[in-house]
Symmetry: C2
Amino acid sequence: MPVDLIPPLEKELLPVCGVSLGIAEAGIKRPGRRDLLIIQLAEHTQIAGVFTKNRFCAAPVTVAKNHLSGPLPIRALVVNTGNANAGTGQSGIDHAEMTCAILAKLLGYQPQQVLPFSTGVIMEPLPVARITEHLPVAAADLSPDNWFAAAHAIMTTDTVAKSVSRQVVVDGVSVTITGIAKGSGMIHPNMATMLGFIATDAAISPTLLRSLVRMVADCSFNRITVDGDTSTNDAFMLMATGRAGHAPINDANHPDFDRLRTAITEVAVTLAQMIVRDGEGATKFITIQVEKGQTAEECNKIAFAIAHSPLVKTAFFASDPNLGRILAAIGYAGIDDLDVTHIQLYLGDVLVAENGGRTTSYREEDSQRIMQSPEITIRVVLNRGEATTTIWTCDLSYDYVKINAEYRS
Amino acid sequence: MPVDLIPPLEKELLPVCGVSLGIAEAGIKRPGRRDLLIIQLAEHTQIAGVFTKNRFCAAPVTVAKNHLSGPLPIRALVVNTGNANAGTGQSGIDHAEMTCAILAKLLGYQPQQVLPFSTGVIMEPLPVARITEHLPVAAADLSPDNWFAAAHAIMTTDTVAKSVSRQVVVDGVSVTITGIAKGSGMIHPNMATMLGFIATDAAISPTLLRSLVRMVADCSFNRITVDGDTSTNDAFMLMATGRAGHAPINDANHPDFDRLRTAITEVAVTLAQMIVRDGEGATKFITIQVEKGQTAEECNKIAFAIAHSPLVKTAFFASDPNLGRILAAIGYAGIDDLDVTHIQLYLGDVLVAENGGRTTSYREEDSQRIMQSPEITIRVVLNRGEATTTIWTCDLSYDYVKINAEYRS
């Protein structure tokens, strides 16, 4: 049961000039679902991405990074669900390369112009024949209007498809941004078990796009956590086709760059929050704000210590304002010189703790009231600097255990 | 349901010459259970301890550290369950000091000769009046034969009391070691939500005892994890009364020191493993060995990444050999230069993965067979050095969520 997450409507998704999507049913894990997606990019499209930092990164991550750093422009992406092609050694690499080569041949490109992505079970061989057999079906399906179907095709344990569009005026012309993402377990920054694809018809120079994708990821997908597990396959790709008709934006000082960056970030934050709202077994959507820290890094440490604590997460599942568990998590976050007597802890608008203990005005009824809401904000004010961070997470329920004990993900 | 954990028998616990224990029912959290323990130490007893590194450490931890570092010999410990006296600010410190002062007066010591310990719910005021009222009852109960009752008095969510005795010959005389411990959730090194008290009648110099307590903790209580939460209240105290009758051991080169250290470590490891076996909701006892690492630190990082992964823990709960999740945890453990193609992963005696993927001889039936056992060993051979580590953990079940969602711990 996702938390306050309304499934997107097909008509809300705007096509992006220069991007076509094709879907097929390849029967990768089981028959009867569309599990294969290809994205074709118009000539001169720029693309940049960020990938998992997991050392056991999947074969498609290795291959995608190689192709991205090569001299040829990227013209297509191929995404399968049902199998992660991770922990598969050299044969996994061969399978990912083979998938690229066959799609490239179909579309008239070189293999190095295709990026592969996979998500699903780890350490099982990729059923590459089923994928390559169905690539022609997906190619025949290519259309700019397939974003909605694409959002569904990349789902694994997701219960709701994640997609969103925005429009913004850049340099006097209307620019479209549309994104899709998947992920609901194994979610942790750098990155989550997530795939995210955002395309825009804006024109952005390659160098600026590479820094933009990091800025956007740092404000969105790198600020969410479900269970603290970092996947082998995460990738977030940002594509700019340049078809909107404005002159290319080459640097961050361009007068409309901030407006564009903000709109793309909004799309990414919306997708990232959708992932948390659809977190495995989630019943609460929790925003954690850590304020007035010395550095963003220490704010992050504290925010993620709270977000990862199974004790905090189970208390929120129970709607039990057992808030001492939050203090304990702050205390073990690894900030050696933290003076806990300066910290204020708020649940929603209720001041819970200060001076190293519960505030004298605190009444449990107040936090009990906040705890009933499906959307809760925890604020930790460190009072030792000017840095701030905000992250999003969910609670830990019976259903998280059920999903992960029963699903071979 | 603890995993292969047989409740200790009263007659197996040996008194330690110079140590008396008294128990009372103070009604700290609820009536009807013995929740207050005092331990009295004979003159000339040496004591050393290790404490939580949580910055929100509880008031009794602060007070115990102060008293330990003072000039007066420690003569008594007072332990309550039902309330952690953590996140309680200055009044918490006052309550802990008051408890020490009243017990000291009863027994004829100075307040600084008493160490306080608390465990239970965080951020609730300590019901200090109930404790001080019942200290005379506990004092009247003092006896060397109360170890079994003491092990029960310190339990919180524990389902089985934890206690063990050993004897060893040192310098020609028989020396006794008896320990008790508590803890089953919020268990993570440095330290767990655990209290551990081990006493021996051996004679050990203060300096050597201080290094011994760290050596012992590093091989036992710092090698267990249930949920990765580090408590505000953890403490492990090692007491040596010197009543066994041998000449004091002053340095680590003493011919019998290793024998004594080994016996004390065995007691501590047994107690630590009992804590994991009684981990909240545990159905599996999991040993994680990481071998042939460059440093013990990197072995620990990998071992604890596996042990803390909710995805690994739920797979073990389901007896599902979804072992790719272990590879993923190894990959995100934070070893930047890890070459995963050199790693071998074993489940029990089954070689699961090598060369960056599943081994060709692997058959899922083999790991399925291992998964049926309540005691499972995961071995990760890094093949890049000589360092090794072993830690112990348990799985993540519905009952962990239930206990922590329903129990205000």
